[in-house]
């Protein structure tokens, strides 16, 4: 088989792993803090995907691959090119944004409106990136294989927060995550580009008549979405190692969050991120880490059964309107 699943990882969710504390007094506090961290990780992962889908109705299945690519690029810039860390991060994010733009410009623009073709094509792009990273022996390229590639945390060390040890990286994730949501909502509500993006998201035809270029907006959305994926990567990847498999997992998480929250709904995505984040954290605390994925699947199935359009999603019942 070409796409082997990792058989060494007992849990499917190694990126969320951390050392659990055994002291029962701080149990609920730990759930609260780590649940919040996990939720914000989910939200960060899904934000780029939901932005792109919300604006341009493009399901960007290359999301996870861009996430991983940014991780490897940052690693390469630091370790091979000797860039300072901050510069490496900025460079990688710029590359991600350009890549997002190119994916739309070269491939997706020709498939507009055919949602399933967009899925298949963007997933093919994703496979090209992820499997390309694992490719060996072409022009001396060794391929990124194995758990040797890790990013440094921004700030090393831990802090005792209300009796629970939390490393600074996770606090940074919370800070940046909340900051990003605020920043994005400011951007979409108060800048010209942001307002155009929202206009396209609400009514493409009307927006086009008012002079908003829908392809241009989709390009911008893909760039921002890819950069967001990259930002999530540089924040979250220091918690684990960088492998191509992470890309598939991130895509699945992004999809899961969006399906539960309702495709294209920001509020829904954030709400869903918290639902999954806490559901998984609580189940881990009660039954052990193995059950995380079962809880994730269970949540999705429950949503599909009782509210197929997602928590805050609106799926039209009928094409015809009043």
């Amino acid at each position: 088989m070409t796409l082997e699943y990792r058989s060494d990882g007992v849990s499917a969710i190694s990126i969320l792993h951390h050392s659990t504390l055994q002291e029962p007094d701080f149990y609920s506090m730990e759930i609260l803090i780590y649940g919040t961290v996990n939720s914000i990780i989910f939200a960060l992962i899904a934000l780029g995907f939901t932005l792109v889908y919300g604006v341009s109705r493009v399901p960007n299945f290359a999301h996870g691959s861009i996430y991983v690519l940014v991780g490897f690029l940052t690693w390469s810039f630091v370790n091979n090119s000797g860039f300072p860390y901050a510069l490496a991060v900025i460079f990688s994010l710029v590359v991600a944004a350009i890549l997002g733009f190119l994916i739309y410009r070269i491939v997706l623009i020709r498939l507009r409106g055919m949602a399933t073709s967009e899925i298949i094509a963007s997933f093919a792009v994703s496979l090209i990136i992820l499997e390309g990273l694992r490719m060996q022996g072409i022009a001396g390229f060794k391929g990124f294989i194995g758990p040797f590639y890790t990013l440094k945390p921004f700030i090393e060390g831990k802090i005792n927060l209300l009796g629970v040890f939390v490393d600074y990286q996770r606090l940074i994730i919370i800070g940046v995550g909340v900051g990003m949501v605020i920043l994005l909502s400011l951007f979409t509500h108060h800048t010209k580009t942001g307002l155009s993006l929202r206009a396209i998201a609400q009514d493409e035809q009307a927006a086009m008549m008012l002079g908003v270029n829908s392809d241009r907006m989709a390009e911008i959305a893909m760039s921002i979405g890819s950069a967001l994926a990259g930002l999530a990567a540089v924040l979250i990847l220091p918690l684990g190692s960088i492998t191509a498999e992470v890309g598939y997992r991130v895509l699945i998480y992004a999809l899961a969050v969006c399906i539960i929250g309702g495709l294209g709904s920001w509020g829904g995505a954030i709400l869903a991120a918290f639902v999954i984040g806490f559901a998984m954290k609580i189940s881990t605390a009660l039954f052990g880490a193995l059950w995380e994925s079962v809880v994730l699947v269970g949540t999705i199935i429950l949503i599909l059964l009782f509210k197929p359009s997602g928590l805050l999603g609106k799926q039209k019942e009928l094409e015809e309107r009043v």
């Binding site: 070409t2 058989s7 399901p59 399933t116 072409i138 391929g143 079962v294 197929p308």
Partner: protein
């Protein structure tokens, strides 16, 4: 700029013009005209195995599995409007059922494969039923996630051999048997589905794809028909899975691998969506090609994804539809 004085004009052959799909055959040449491509396909599939060595015969076997999957993908996508990106789910469920029956109850492959095909299809359908209410991209996304979830759950619960899988299952007694079993299955499935889509049931399914609301207004339950369609597609996939399990004598989480979801889609896009023959053809082209590139590791995935994208962007109608057009039409130059 040079004025063009000639242009190519494309005309339908007369036999095709007379009536869409209904032919009044009046001569041997017309019969031969219609039969030739079909006979060529069947003979091709049956004869090629004689001319290749054992290794490539094995490759043809797995090409057959991908062909079944491609067929089931094409049937669901082009005739029912359900884009199921989770072909691996069928393979996995079929393979696990056959393998477990063989491992725990020591049933022979000739018993486990039929059971796994039918029971597996029923289970796959049950799993997909909650998703059938979803439309378009929602269904695609959820079906894409299902096989991966199956893997997560098998690993998490550590059932059915967990991450290791179960090996030393019974295999087929001879290579020619396994080869002709899958080829016969592919041909039977191909002709059965071609037949089906023009029967009343197929017409209703195509109606569901074009306009599900009108089908409901015509007094027909779309869910009931979608369930039947999914069951039929799952039959093909589960057969492939059960067969695969016995082909390699092994079951494991790789049965849910994304390869089984992606390669059939690439084959379908390349062969031509909706042509049914095209996906089969595509599978028999892509699988050996990807096998030939095995030495290059991940390059083959990269390559078949590039082919996939190239076809989607530049030749969205696919090989088969182009060939069909060339066969049924003739071109001539005419003065402008």
């Amino acid at each position: 700029m040079v004025a063009k004085t000639r242009r190519k004009k494309r005309l339908e052959r007369s036999i095709k013009v007379r009536c869409e799909g209904l032919y009044a055959l009046s001569s041997w040449s017309e019969i031969a005209y219609l039969m030739a491509p079909r006979v060529l396909l069947i003979l091709g599939l049956l004869v090629i195995p004689f001319y290749v060595d054992m290794y490539w015969q094995r490759v043809l076997c797995s090409a057959g599995i991908y062909a079944l999957l491609a067929l089931s993908f094409d049937f669901l996508a082009a005739y029912v409007g359900l884009v199921c990106l989770g072909g691996a789910l069928f393979i996995g469920i079929g393979g696990y059922i056959a393998g477990l029956l063989n491992h725990y109850f020591h049933l022979s492959p000739f018993v486990t494969i039929p059971i796994a095909t039918i029971v597996g299809a029923a289970i796959s359908t049950l799993v997909l039923i909650p998703c059938l209410r979803l439309r378009g991209i929602y269904f695609a996304i959820v079906s894409f996630m299902l096989p991966l979830f199956a893997v997560y759950i098998i690993i998490a619960l550590n059932v059915f051999g967990g991450t290791e899988g179960i090996s030393a299952l019974d295999t087929f007694p001879s290579i020619s048997l396994e080869l002709y079993l899958i080829l016969a299955a592919v041909l039977a499935a191909l002709f059965a589905i071609r037949r089906l889509v023009n029967e009343d049931m197929g017409i209703i399914l195509r109606g569901v794809k074009d306009n599900d609301q009108a089908v409901r207004a015509s007094g027909i339950s779309i869910t009931a028909y979608k369930i039947r369609a999914v069951f039929m597609a799952a039959l093909l996939g589960c057969f492939g899975g059960a067969y695969l399990g016995h082909l390699y004598g092994w079951l494991g989480i790789s049965l849910f691998a994304m390869d089984f979801s992606i390669l059939p889609i690439a084959a379908t896009v390349m062969g031509g969506m909706g042509s049914l023959v095209g996906p089969v053809l595509g599978a028999f082209i892509l699988t050996p090609m990807s096998e030939a590139l095995r030495g290059f590791g991940q390059l083959r995935v990269v390559l078949y994804c590039l082919i996939l994208i190239a076809f989607m962007v530049y030749k969205p109608e696919g090989i088969m539809n182009i060939l069909q057009r060339k066969y049924h039409q003739f071109e001539k130059w005419e003065e402008v």
